[in-house]
């Protein structure tokens, strides 16, 4: 539903609370009042302002020209004028018949009101850690998704963009790693309805609110552990003239960095001078250059809105065409949103309907069914620079070698397309029987569908080398998400006591299903994937097909009580009783309570002498959230069909258990304590400080179990405890203000520390007191990370290289300080050699307005972490003879010997990742009241990821921080880009 509507309603409720007690049922009406409401500064008429007779439910709203008229029971009443974003005004009528009112914009910076779970709250009443970022503070340049907009704006919410692929989104981590196997993505609610960070076009977003701590998120139960991101879309209410807004930008990208591989001449040089056993094919090809481009992307957004006090509407169309830095890498996106609000009988019933439709289409370049085939990048990096692109017959030059292909063949000899469609229809009905009671029913259905096709032509190596005569596949996945929620909000004020009550029920069902097929050996490659049945390998039994369907249900009952005494003492208590079908029958339901309290010290009488303290609030909260497993049916004993068995001359499928069932599977539970302080000093320094501790208990984790008695060696069980602690500081300073200049500066800092407290305390005791994670492929075969009990998530675990012997083999040192040659090492000689999670994240945003110009600069940095430079590990190793290598491959290690060791996971390839980035610089120019009906025009130029100050030798130190193997800079990572954007916003 459109929370703006609810928000408006609740503001009204809040304003009326003191008088509800005197509510009277009988009225003898007889006093006419009329007037005009205008904006205090501009003098413009304000339509849609609510005018209510205080103490009654009666009132009206101003017309298009700001006028109103109503009949009061007598001339001795008080009128209350309220309008969102403006200060309320109470005016005693004192027998007058004409009352004109000038409304003043609300003085508190940012939001007076915050969107919280299932409702809104005045910012000053909030007792949890909730941060809201309004559209005016969004990063503007070419956002990947909604999270991009608030990158570096919310302390403790780490948003990374480790990939330059236009189809990849951001990577989000809130307050550390709190789960081992559960999902780590936050709950995203778009006006209260679950969605994705990409479901709504950024131009359509009014504000983004992050519920950080457990006490705020607990109302969402099991979905709240990774934080909740509430996206409020732009709402249009009240009387507005039809408005058209156009927002558009073009951007240009460059690859930030390329690995420094041998050129053809250098390659020949090492053959001749170093005796490297490489092959010189006699050509000179810059393979990296051959797959790259400098792409231009565009984005257009058109919004049409209007309405009157009863009905208003908006329609938005957003088109985005993005080109990636690699040839063929792209993403084309069309998003539409139509929204309709209608109010019946003076807001007694409010109806809201929204229709969202999104089509995204992009190149599908590999059998993995992703978007761009990252192995094109790998092959371009490692391809022998002396080789030719095409062979004598004009085909792509292929060579033997394991995992060695012509990148241009992989890129060009394929056809592929992914089409994602997301259709969402949602609506709400709010019934306001009393000014202090509203009942809302919300329903939504979301259908996400992905249809993919991929085909390898006869030019592809599958035909030229493998003789398959083409390969083609079709894949389809559908997710249907249905939601129904019923909530009731009630509020009451008695003297200095103010109470808000919320109760509700939530029902959600998610169904996944899909179909896939592939075939090969086609008579022609003309049809790509459009005639799969033609392939002869269907008859040969070598084609494949499959389908699946699974589902889960989530049901919750929730309630919340907010109590406020005299604006000084604030208390919140909430409870969610939630059930998830994915658990064992006895453990389906979990209880997720939360409590928080606030003390507005600045409102105390003893603070009157401290004039410079405008606001001082102490907060404390505790909340419990849960995590459910990512898969369904884990608690069930069931059987699957398995491999074929030769029986009596026929092949029959076997039947075997599907899994080790765990009927005791229960909620992973996160307890979080949060202490916070909000302040405003000298009317120019605002900020908040939060300290938290989150303990995740009954960790969902694939424990290793003995076989027999178990059938499989792994069992998903609740086992272990993980702790995260941290501090977050956010500071906003009005640094300088004068008539023409307005300079604000804000700093956001967070630090996090985590520890695996225990593993294997459950009944299924495992002796193992650590978990391996991550891994290096090829022959290295070692996990990259290990989390020990008492240790940290993100710890790299490998060999510590201290020297190199005369044969060019590593000499390592184990934890006991014992030095060993490479051929004497044992697995136990590995140790913790670094950590991939930054200890400190900091960002600093400055924005300056000078007359019509505005400039904002965002610097962002992360400190105290290491990166595993996989590119260096694999390509700086001269024992690899089939590949091109980094140009430092023959440099002596430790200044002593050229490496002659097989690929090895040693800490030589771990580097400090500390960096500071000039992440975003935007210069804008605003004009208003222009000809041709243009009311506002803004032009801006923006640069993103402009420069990185770092000692890291890889491509970009902003690497993945997700999962249990953070800090691993994969060699196949789609490289990051530098981006320049030119944009324009016009309002008619």
């Amino acid at each position: 539903m459109n929370s703006k509507i609810r928000l408006l309603k609740l503001v009204k409720i809040l304003c009326f609370l003191p008088l509800l007690a005197g509510l009277s049922g009988t009225v003898i009406a007889q006093h006419q009042i009329s007037g005009t409401v205008t904006e205090a500064i501009t003098g413009e008429a304000l339509p849609g302002v609510s005018v209510i007779i205080q103490g009654t439910a009666r009132g009206t709203a101003t017309e298009l020209d700001g006028t109103y008229s109503l009949t009061a029971p007598s001339g001795d009443v008080t009128l209350l004028f309220s309008y969102i974003g403006f200060e309320n005004q109470q005016i005693e009528v004192q027998g007058r018949n004409v009352i004109d009112v000038q409304m003043e914009q609300a003085s508190i910076m940012g939001e007076d009101v915050l969107v919280v779970g299932y409702g809104i709250q005045r910012a000053e009443d909030v007792t949890s850690s909730i941060i809201s970022v309004p559209a005016s503070e969004f990063r503007v340049s070419a956002p990947k998704d909604a999270a991009s907009l608030i990158k570096g704006r919310v302390a403790g919410l780490n948003i990374q963009e480790p990939s330059g692929n236009p189809t990849d989104g951001t990577q989000i981590k809130l307050r550390g790693t709190t789960t081992l196997t559960g999902s780590s993505s936050p709950l995203v609610l778009i006006d209260g309805i679950p969605g994705g960070l990409n479901s709504v076009a950024p131009e359509n977003i009014e504000s983004i609110t992050v519920l950080k701590d457990g006490s705020a998120a607990a109302i969402y139960g099991s979905r709240g552990t990774n934080g909740v991101i509430l996206i409020t879309t732009k709402g249009y209410e009240g009387q507005t003239r039809p408005t058209i807004t156009y927002q558009g930008f073009m951007d240009y990208q460059q690859i930030v960095n390329t690995p420094d591989m041998f050129t053809a001449d250098e390659y020949r040089d090492v053959i001749n001078n170093q005796g490297a056993p490489f092959t010189d094919f006699g050509e000179s090809t810059d393979w990296i250059e051959s797959v790259l481009r400098e792409p231009v992307s565009q984005n257009h957004s058109l919004t049409y809105s209007g309405g009157n006090s009863q009905t208003n509407y908006s329609a938005n169309l957003n088109y985005r065409d993005q080109q990636g830095i690699f040839l063929r890498s792209d993403s084309e996106d069309l998003r539409t949103r139509v929204s309709l609000n209608h109010s019946i009988r003076e807001d007694l019933v409010q109806v809201n309907l929204n229709l969202n439709y999104r089509i995204q289409e992009f190149f599908n370049g590999s059998r993995d069914d992703g978007s761009f085939n990252n192995s094109v990048w790998r092959q371009a990096v490692i391809r022998n620079p002396t080789d030719q692109v095409r062979n004598e017959q004009g085909g792509w030059q292929e060579r033997p070698g394991f995992g060695y292909s012509n990148p241009l063949g992989l890129l060009n000899a394929v056809e592929g397309d992914t089409e994602n469609r997301e259709f969402k229809f949602d609506g709400s009905v709010t019934f306001n029987p009393l000014t202090n009671l509203s009942i809302t029913a919300v329903g939504s259905t979301t259908r996400f569908n992905s249809l993919r096709g991929y085909a390898e032509s006869f030019e592809h190596r599958t035909t030229t080398v493998d003789g398959l005569n083409g390969w083609a596949s079709r894949n389809e996945d559908t997710e249907v998400d249905n939601l129904f929620e019923l909530t009731a909000n009630f509020s009451q004020n008695i003297d200095a006591h103010s109470v808000q009550l919320l109760g509700g029920y939530s029902w959600q069902e998610v169904v996944f299903e899909g179909f896939n097929a592939f075939n090969q050996n086609f008579p022609t490659d003309l049809f790509s994937y459009n005639n799969l049945g033609l392939g002869v390998d269907l008859q040969e039994g070598l084609a494949g097909m499959g389908s699946y369907k699974n589902s889960y249900k989530l049901i919750g009952f929730f309630s919340r009580l907010n109590y406020d005494y005299d604006g000084r003492y604030l208390l919140m208590g909430s409870m969610r009783y939630e059930g998830n079908s994915r658990f064992g029958a006895d453990n389906e339901w979990g209880l997720f309570p939360a409590v928080s309290a606030g003390w507005r010290i600045s409102s105390e009488s003893f603070m009157e002498d401290f004039d410079f303290i405008n606001e001082l609030k102490l907060r404390a909260g505790f909340g419990v959230t849960g995590i459910a497993p990512n898969e369904s049916y884990l608690s069930l004993t069931s059987y699957d069909y398995s491999g074929f068995f030769f029986n009596q001359g026929e092949w029959v499928q076997g039947i075997e258990p599907a899994r080790n069932p765990n009927p005791d599977l229960k909620w992973e539970r996160k307890d979080e304590i949060n202490l916070g302080l909000d302040f405003e000093l000298f009317e120019r320094v605002r900020g908040n400080i939060d300290v938290y501790r989150r303990d995740t208990k009954d960790l969902l984790f694939e424990i290793s179990v003995p076989v027999p008695p178990f059938v499989f060696p792994d069992l998903l069980a609740n086992d272990g405890e993980l702790r995260n602690e941290g501090i977050e500081v956010a500071l906003d300073v009005d640094a300088y203000q004068s008539e023409n200049i307005n300079w604000t500066s804000s700093v956001v800092y967070s630090t996090n520390r985590n520890e695996l407290i225990s593993l294997g305390e459950g009944s299924l005791r495992s002796e193992q007191d650590f978990i391996y994670a991550g891994g290096l492929g090829e022959s290295v075969q070692l996990p990259t990370h290990r989390i020990d009990v008492g240790g940290k998530v993100g710890n790299f675990y490998g060999y510590k290289a201290v020297d190199i012997d005369e044969d060019g083999n590593w000499i390592i040192e184990n934890a006991e300080g014992e030095r060993k040659g490479w051929f004497d090492i044992e697995p136990d000689d590995r140790q913790v050699i670094g950590n991939g999670l930054p200890d400190h994240n900091i960002s600093w945003r400055n924005s300056v307005n000078y007359k019509n110009f505005d400039l904002s600069i965002l610097l962002r940095g992360a400190f105290g972490f290491q990166i595993l430079n996989e590119t260096s590990l694999f390509y700086s190793n001269p024992t690899q003879q089939d590949f091109n290598l980094l140009s430092d491959a023959f440099d002596p290690i430790f200044g002593k010997e050229v490496l002659n060791n097989e690929w090895a996971y040693v800490d030589y390839y771990l580097e400090d990742g500390d960096f500071v980035k000039i992440d975003d610089v935007t210069l804008g120019y605003n004009l208003s009241s222009l000809p041709y009906g243009i009311s506002n025009l803004r032009v801006y130029l923006s640069g993103q990821n402009l420069h990185t100050f770092t000692g890291y030798s890889g491509l970009d130190p902003e690497v993945s921080i997700g999962g249990l193997n953070p800090g691993h800079d994969f060699r196949d990572r789609y490289p990051t880009t530098r981006r320049f954007t030119l944009g324009v916003n016009v309002t008619f």
Binding site: P433, L486, S704, P706
Partner: protein, 542 residues
Amino acid sequence: MKKIRFLFIVISTLTLTMLVSSCTDLTEEPFSEITEENFNPTSEDIPRLLAPAYTNLRWYMACCYDYVSMQEGAGDSYITPSRPNGWGGPYLPYHWHEWTPTHLHVNVGWDNWINGINAANRVLYQVQNLIEVEPDVLAGLVAEIRALRAFNYYNLLDNYGSVPIVTDFLDESLPTQSSRQEVFNFVETELLESIPDLTETVDQSTYGRMHKWAAMTLLARLYLNAEVYTGTERWDDVIEYTDRVIDSGIFELEPDYRNNFVQSNQNSSEIIFVIPYDEVFAGGNTMHMRTLAPEQQQSFRMSAQPWGGSAATPQSIETYDDEDTRLDDTWSGGPQRNPAGDVVIDFTKSIPEMGATQFRHGFRVNKYEIYEGMTASSDVDYPVFRYSLVLMMKAEALLRTNRPGDAATLVSEVRERAFSETDPSKATVSAAELQEGSAFNYGNIDPATFDEENDTIGYVDVQGGADVVYGRFLDELLWEFTNEGFRRNDMIRFQTTSGQSVYTAKRWFEKTPSESCREVFPIPQSAIDDNPNLAQVDNCFD
């Protein structure tokens, strides 16, 4: 009072919601699994329930944790050195005898055989308790499952020594370890008890199944190695059970050795127990992928590029008689051509080292037919027991019980086809010859002497094979059975005059003498971590 009325409405609405059961119903709905309620197997389902106990054996030739690499790679005739594409790394410890309890490639046997035992116990429980089966059918079925389970236990016994014995599918307690002697007794008893009820039929209906003759061959194999396992020799029992297989008259040596390893080797009359593979239905035989060089993809118009890989030790090639056609039927060396006749790669016999080699170094395994148009999965079935094995087991038992003449007759019989097209006179081996030492030039390679042009490499620390007791017989086993997964086992059974096993005492290629505790693999660390009742017993890690 309106207010209260509305509150009442709200509360009743919420209460009603809670009461309507569909609003709190969290029953899971699986769409593509057989749930417990739907699982009502009948006797017609028996093949499906039995299937996992057999299909579990498919790892024997699978990529990349396979039985053959494990058994042959630790022996003297087969190595998987590092290739330029990175292939080879994890296999090096097999050759050097330097594995650890965390080395996945030596854990794989444990995991798979235990899985096979689990599957057997499960189907045993199912046919005995869940399904109505005719009593006579049931007896045969139970015998088959027990014999198949004994096959898994035999291999655990051979490879890991002291292992836990679990026979009850419903037993949820943590298994406890049994001694090697106890496991030996268990396997022996299980086989002796099942043999009477096993079918004697050998045709398509028992292809790939544990019939009476397969169980007897297994039992003979158990007795053949009894001294290694228990310290007590059982040669007479070897003779008894090999005789019973021989006397059945069902099996005979194929006139052409290759018939046992061709694409359609299901027609071989020599195969006693087999793991069926099929390109379409039963993928997983990747022997050709592991051994062939990537360039050979063109030679055979394969739809997958081989990884590159496993090769013969130069010393094992040097043991072959020039006229023995099994050399060419087992290994391919020299120039390899594509269909147009162009040389795509020229294999040298010599290999410079384990750590870094070129694709062209080393003769490749062509024992299992490499046919045109292969995919990554081969159609060739893996013969676990062949009739020639039965003959050779009997011959060995005769030889070791002072009947070398009878042994020589049998060995000559097996050799006959290997020389029938070259020099038939060479097929005959004498009693005296069988008692000679080994022709294998045990010793380490000297990389410095590697001469690619002349395809030679020299040796250092040369031990030779003269001191191998019945060394010639061990050589016969190499020529007949290399790459069939017996080499490790045979080399442990055969000893030098100093009483150490050939397997540990001898040097070959880069392998230096290893401790006798290397004769069994360690129990996987993960299994010990998960089950505190388990410990390393009598191996290098106890």
